[in-house]
């Protein structure tokens, strides 16, 4: 049920089979594919149901939102919640700030973690084990416990209420995971590939950039999405560090839909839908690199 090359395997069998059974094998194969596809769709539906509920609610007028007999489809559909959400003061500033923070952080994080991943996957050096253990251990500390010290430290260097301060904190939080994960992906690439490239005239460093980097495409995509989401949805650090409304991020904007009167369900769901869209867009752009890794799996020494 598993192997990626199973389709190939089956085709080989089909070629060997007698002409008469070739047709039924084909139908079997198609039926199997249909079952898998149906299962896949089922998974998507089950996972997406709460999200569907969120998006549907975003289009419902207030009265239809909390009902004893739920309305499956928004009817009437209204865009009022979205208009409400976008009309909030500083919305565009928040979008801009979130994009800047996430963009800068992601570029730096991918670069730094790639180098560190290569360094620990390809080389043995003194202190390597200690470094790896440090990387893992740091992730066990709950971020909530560090907020006060982080704030006081940044306050001491005047970096509260700055995007740079937030980017630095996010980088430090996200790097351990990215290094650790990418190390695993790099380790799976045989070093012979780099060595071949070096024989062809590449420097060590060049080999890493030109050979290894593309081959760990899927790993990069997964960690990039992870980093994006961590930074995009992070609330408490952004809220505590950033006080001027011009500097705040979308997560603070999202929080503003919950007043002391409770959440404003319609606009909140609309806002949440809008907040999730850039991540999905980011993924859709990158996902072909994920599939591109399919060929990477076929690398022969």
């Amino acid at each position: 049920m598993i192997a990626p090359g199973a389709a190939q395997g089956i085709r080989t069998e089909t070629a060997r089979a007698a002409a008469g059974t070739a047709v039924s094998f084909n139908i079997l194969q198609q039926a199997r594919q249909l079952v898998y596809d149906a299962l896949g769709i089922a998974v998507a539906i089950v996972m997406l149901f709460p999200i569907y509920w969120m998006v549907a609610t975003a289009f419902k007028p207030g009265q239809d939102i909390l009902r004893l007999d739920p309305k499956w489809f928004p009817n009437p559909i209204t865009l009022q919640n979205f208009q409400d959400a976008i009309a909030r003061p500083f919305f565009l500033d928040d979008v801009k700030n979130s994009l800047i923070i996430v963009g800068v952080m992601l570029v730096l994080a991918l670069a730094i973690s790639f180098f560190a991943a290569v360094g620990t996957a390809r080389f043995g050096f003194r202190g390597r084990t200690a470094y790896l253990v440090m990387i893992i251990a740091v992730q066990m500390v709950p971020l909530n416990a560090l907020i006060i010290p982080l704030y006081l430290m940044l306050d001491g260097v005047g970096q509260t209420d700055t995007l740079a301060g937030v980017i630095a904190v996010y980088l430090a939080v996200v790097l351990p995971f990215m290094v650790w994960t990418l190390r695993g992906f790099v380790a799976n690439i045989p070093p012979e590939l780099e060595e071949s490239a070096m024989i062809d005239g590449c420097t060590r460093f060049g080999a890493f950039i030109r050979i290894t980097f593309p081959l760990i495409g899927p790993g990069l995509v997964a960690t990039a999405i992870f980093g994006f989401i961590q930074a995009w949805n992070e609330y408490i650090v952004a809220y505590v560090l950033l006080s001027s409304p011009e500097n705040q991020t979308l997560t603070v904007w999202l929080a503003s839909f919950t007043t002391n009167h409770g959440p404003e369900w319609g606009p909140l769901m609309a806002a949440a839908t809008l907040t999730g869209l850039p991540v999905v867009a980011f993924f859709l752009i990158l996902q072909r690199y994920l599939a591109g890794g399919l060929t990477a799996g076929a690398v022969k020494g």
Binding site: Q33, L39, V43, L146, P149, A168, P176, I189, A222, V299
Partner: protein, 314 residues
């Protein structure tokens, strides 16, 4: 995508880095990461430990000077009977979540290899959308779905004649309530683990699997003896991370229970919050955080050691 191997040429000597440069090269590679991580986190971590040894309330925080109490905070926590209950509950909760997440994620990742391109994009996009939704918002939705009177779940279960679930309160019974919370946590955890495992599966060379298939291995056999061992580093990573994250689950429980969870629902993160930030006793809160890290180190010890061992081989 084969790599052509041409006749070996001798590298010009000037291109080869000298022995010192070679030795320093790995350190140069990891230097930026150390700088960033240590630069930002070293002081706060040190302060966390220092805080845990003090009586540090709001007044002390504002005046930047605490009262040294040594290990008193730790003693107070360990002596609290509630604490032991909380640890046990957290461990059971964590293992359940991690176990279920792994099983479902592996199955879905394997399924992703078999579906056609379009379906794969659909499934992965939906996973990403789930992953991308801020936890607080998605838990709001789940809370709503399990609501006592307006909940879709109660409505559906009654409509499907599974029983009478009108006005059924899912959180009356802590075991049932925690089961609901497990569903919410696992649902949120599946996307990341699935996508990471899938990325790893893509790196498994298909010729190795072909060989196993030709040899007549069953699907289960192929997975357990061929695929899984190749994915070992990735499995180690996701298990370790899932354990760390699920151990620290806070938002799901806090929001599901209207920010007022009763002590039957306390996991260590909630307990930490209530004992420290809730009553602004930062010394206590720091001590609990330190204890949390120590417990995590013990729990993940096996996996960490395996990971580092695997790293050595590589």
């Amino acid at each position: 995508m084969g790599v052509a191997i041409t006749a070996p040429e001798l590298e010009p000597v000037s291109r080869r880095p000298g022995p010192l440069r070679t030795a320093l090269f790995p350190y140069a590679l990891i230097a930026p990461s150390i700088l960033m991580i240590a630069g930002i986190l070293a002081f706060p971590l040190a302060m966390l430990i220092w805080l845990s040894l003090q009586h540090y309330g709001l007044k002390e925080l504002i005046q930047h000077s605490g009262e040294w109490v040594g290990l008193q905070n730790y003693q107070a926590i360990i002596a609290d009977p509630l604490f032991h209950q909380v640890i046990l509950r957290s461990l059971i909760f964590t293992f359940t979540c991690v176990g279920l997440t792994l099983v479902f994620s592996t199955l879905i990742a394997l399924l992703l290899l078999k579906v056609r391109q379009l379906v794969r994009v659909i499934v992965m996009s939906s996973l990403v959308f789930v992953w991308a939704t801020p936890v607080i918002v998605s838990v709001d939705i789940w809370q709503w779905m399990f609501d006592y009177e307006f909940g879709v779940i109660n409505y559906l279960l009654t409509q499907l004649h599974v029983g009478n679930f009108i006005h059924h309160n899912w959180f009356d019974n802590p075991v049932q309530g925690l089961a609901v919370l497990v569903i919410v946590v696992v649902w949120g955890a599946i996307p990341f683990v699935t996508i990471t495992l899938f990325a790893g599966l893509l790196q498994v060379p298909s010729d190795v699997l072909d060989a196993a298939q030709v040899d007549g291995a069953s699907a289960w056999h192929t997975f357990w003896f061929v695929t899984a061992p190749m994915l070992k580093p990735i499995f180690l990573i996701v298990i370790c991370l899932s354990t760390i994250w699920d151990f620290g689950v806070f938002n799901q429980i806090y929001v599901m229970l209207n920010q007022r969870p009763s002590s039957d629902y306390f996991t260590i993160a909630i307990y930490s919050y209530r004992e420290s930030f809730g009553v602004t006793q930062y010394g206590l809160g720091a001590a609990i955080a330190v204890i949390m890290v120590i417990i995590l180190v013990f729990v993940t010890f096996f996996y960490v050691r395996e990971t580092v061992k695997v790293a050595e081989i590589a």
